[in-house]
């Protein structure tokens, strides 16, 4: 299968976020897993988390979550699954480095709903668009206090054993 990825960065100066880099560095195996999940659930939106060691800003453990809304235009983690996964991260000294979901008919850019409901200021919000059958658009954003900042996506090989 030939797949074309488009990842983009916001031109111009990006505001700083303290200890946060304006780039998401992520292993290609994890990106593949996210894309596979999004394709599998298409046309419903898919959602999940990539955990990483606290403070590392490095996503290392992919966790596909159920979309409790099972909708083409809305996603919501199941509250009990979220508790289990968040506890697991806590026990492992991990945090949600990436929170991702797919848009299945529109671009990979946060909707007003996404912005309004974003509750993890430390996370990279990754959006994948599966509206094109042969290519995926993958973009990453910080969403803090209602402000969206796009960041570069740096896909690398072999930062984790996959």
């Amino acid at each position: 299968m030939i797949r074309t990825r488009v990842s983009t960065a916001t031109p111009g100066p990006a505001p700083g976020h303290g200890n946060v880099n304006d780039v998401l560095t992520i292993d290609s195996a994890i990106v593949d897993a996210i894309v596979a999940h999004a394709r599998r659930d298409h046309p419903d939106e898919a959602c999940g988390v990539v955990a990483g060691p606290v403070g590392s800003d490095l996503p290392t453990r992919h966790i596909a979550m159920d979309n409790a809304a099972r909708s083409m235009t809305f996603y919501e983690f199941d509250s009990m699954e979220q508790l289990r996964v968040w506890r697991e991260m806590d026990d492992n000294d991990e945090e949600p480095v990436v929170i991702y979901h797919s848009h299945t008919a529109t671009e990979a850019y946060p909707s007003r709903t996404d912005i309004s409901l974003a509750g993890e200021p430390g996370a990279h919000y990754v959006l994948v668009s599966t509206r094109e059958p042969d290519s995926e658009e993958i973009r990453s954003f910080r969403i803090v206090d209602g402000v969206v900042t796009e960041e570069e996506v740096n896909i690398v090989d072999a930062t984790v054993d996959a």
Binding site: F74, Y75, F77, S79, T106, S111, L117, G119, E120, G146
Partner: protein
């Protein structure tokens, strides 16, 4: 009577950065009132102006979602552990449509993660 409360990152500005605080109360409602006396403003992030639990805040007592325990009337005992997590939700649906779907006015984002204080 001490109840351990785990506070998510987004609400730690109300707890001086603390991840875990203690409170007391015979019900979740009482606990939230108690927490608000020590961490002013926290209540406004957990409850709607009508006094219900925000749709997009998850509160758990021990291992159970309080929505299955009577929500704000959920009984609490000494030694219970309460966890607050912002719901993870969103999607391509427009906000007004999402609000209609979720049964609340579109002009008032009920999400706790959003700013509700005059900042």
């Amino acid at each position: 009577m001490a109840i351990e409360v785990r506070v998510p990152t987004i609400l730690r500005s109300y707890t001086g950065g603390s991840k875990v605080v203690e409170g007391s109360g015979a019900t979740l409602s009482g606990l939230i009132d108690d927490l608000d006396t020590k961490h002013s403003g926290l209540k406004g992030r957990l409850l709607t102006p009508e006094g219900g639990l925000h749709r997009f805040v998850n509160v758990y007592v021990n291992d159970e979602d309080v929505r299955f325990l009577g929500a704000l009337d959920a009984p609490l005992s000494d030694g219970d552990s309460v966890t607050i997590l912002p719901a993870v939700a969103g999607g391509a649906l427009g906000f007004a449509a999402a609000a209609a779907l979720l049964g609340r006015p579109s002009n008032r984002p009920a999400a706790a993660p959003n700013r509700t204080e005059g900042q």
